[in-house]
């Protein structure tokens, strides 16, 4: 089957992960574009019959790490209000925004693990291969990311309420 077609089909998933990873839409789509371009130049390294999705996420991970390193792209700041599509009630929207900020505050390596497990629903093994880390590290990063996220979401509840009054 045509790789181009399969790449196109995977774009929405790449965008979703990138959006959660980098915090805003424009940078996320830039990351996806760089990933796709990189994927084309590296396609000869991809082994036919293996999981193209896992391979692409590996490419994206490497592109992201290089971008952060090269440009010292600041980790997204909490005070910026990333736009997300409207969903339901205002309380919902607030939750999404707080969650988005909390995720942005996680250390980058923990954030990647959490998102691959939660959003992409990759197996721990796949996450380990995608990020090139041992599975024990996957588990400990996942555990730490979740605990931080939980603490932040608990701590943020009152602040969120204050923000409603404007």
């Amino acid at each position: 089957m045509d790789e181009a077609q399969r790449l196109v089909e995977l774009i929405p998933r790449l965008r979703r992960y990138a959006r959660a990873l980098v915090g805003d839409r424009a940078s996320a789509d830039d990351l996806v574009q760089d990933t796709l371009e990189r994927a084309w130049t590296k396609l000869h390294l991809y082994r036919q019959g293996t999981d193209l999705r896992a391979w692409l996420f590996t490419v994206m991970h490497n592109v992201h790490v290089n971008r952060v390193r090269a440009a010292r792209i600041s980790e997204p700041l909490g005070d910026e209000m990333p736009e997300l599509a409207q969903r339901g009630t205002q309380a919902d929207a607030l939750l999404v925004r707080d969650l988005d900020r909390a995720i942005a505050r996680l250390p980058a390596d923990q954030r990647a693990v959490l998102l691959l497990v939660t959003l992409e629903e990759m197996s721990y093994d796949e996450v380990a291969r995608t990020l090139g880390i041992p599975i024990g590290t996957v588990m400990s990063r996942l555990s730490r990311a979740r605990e931080k996220l939980r603490a932040m979401m608990l701590g943020q509840a009152p602040a969120a309420k204050l923000k409603v009054v404007r």
Binding site: D2, A4, Q5, L7, V8, L10, I11, P12, R13, R15, R16, R19, A20, D29, V32, Q33, L36, E37, W40, L43, L84, A85, R87, L95, V96, L99, D100, I103, L114, L115, V117, T118, L119, S123, Y124, G136, M139, S140, L142, S143, R146, E147, L149, R150, M153
Partner: protein, 258 residues
């Protein structure tokens, strides 16, 4: 009942619903005896739900065109080879001016004008169709402006044929230098990234018509024809001769006498 030790990794797997069935009962018993831990793991499950809910809208959103183009690009080696071959052969493009002019006259004289049209179109195709970020100067989303601009520069009414029915959508167009003046190039692309370019120039002699002719230059197939004041060449490195001919017929019908 004695408890087996439960690891943090197992708790994470439990939160993800990925615990092997053999351990399920043990972990659940362990949690039942520890309400605080049970609450922590329940919170992880809720957060996972919320995280998915927060970003899932991106799965159903239309994919931006620039990403579709970046993904649909075919392996460009064929075309890169084509460009390199042209650079070798086509001295015409990058040589020092004096030599360029001299060489150019020879090539032009040695070759019927319409053959030159096909060659120019093939080179333009080989140069621009591998472009990912800048395949065109003006995109199809600004088609009216594109047509007005190109018509003005060519001094003739320029139209972009509609090929959506056969799966080729307009990416946009650009202005190029031709042998005697400005030339227009439109680029089309199929869903899976196959590209087609239409090269159009104004003809010095206004009442000439030719049949379709086919030329193949370094991977790029070209159908070209002259219809009164305009010369057309339809080029692609991704389509078979038959497919290209079918498209050339469509383009001809739409542009006939325009």
């Amino acid at each position: 009942m004695s408890e087996l030790p439960v690891s943090e990794a197992e708790l994470q797997a439990y939160a993800d619903g990925r615990l092997p069935p053999a351990r399920l009962a043990a972990v659940e018993a362990w949690l039942a005896a520890r309400p605080e831990q049970a609450e922590r793991i329940a919170a992880y499950r809720r957060l996972a739900q919320e995280v998915r809910g927060a970003y899932d809208n991106l799965l159903s959103e239309p994919v931006p065109e620039r990403l579709r183009q970046a993904a649909a690009r075919r392996l460009p080696w064929g075309r890169i080879a084509a460009v390199l071959a042209w650079v070798t052969l086509g001295i015409a493009l990058g040589a020092p001016a004096g030599w360029y002019a001299k060489r150019e006259r020879t090539v032009a004289q040695a070759m019927p004008d319409s053959t030159l049209l096909a060659r120019r179109a093939a080179v333009a195709h080989a140069v621009y169709s591998p472009e990912v970020r800048h395949p065109v100067e003006v995109g199809a989303d600004d088609e009216q402006h594109l047509l007005t601009w190109l018509s003005k520069r060519l001094g003739a009414k320029v139209r972009a044929p509609k090929l959506d029915d056969v799966g080729m959508s307009l990416v946009g167009g650009r202005l190029l230098p031709g042998d005697i003046g400005p030339v227009a190039q439109f680029m089309y692309q199929s869903q899976n990234g196959r590209r087609l370019t239409l090269y159009m120039r104004t003809e010095a002699s206004h009442n000439r018509e030719t049949a379709f002719r086919y030329a193949r230059e370094n991977n790029v197939g070209v159908f070209y024809w002259i219809d009164r004041e305009m010369g057309y060449a339809l080029a692609s490195a991704d389509l078979s001769k038959d497919e290209l001919l079918r498209l050339a017929n469509l383009v001809y019908k739409q542009l006939e006498g325009s």
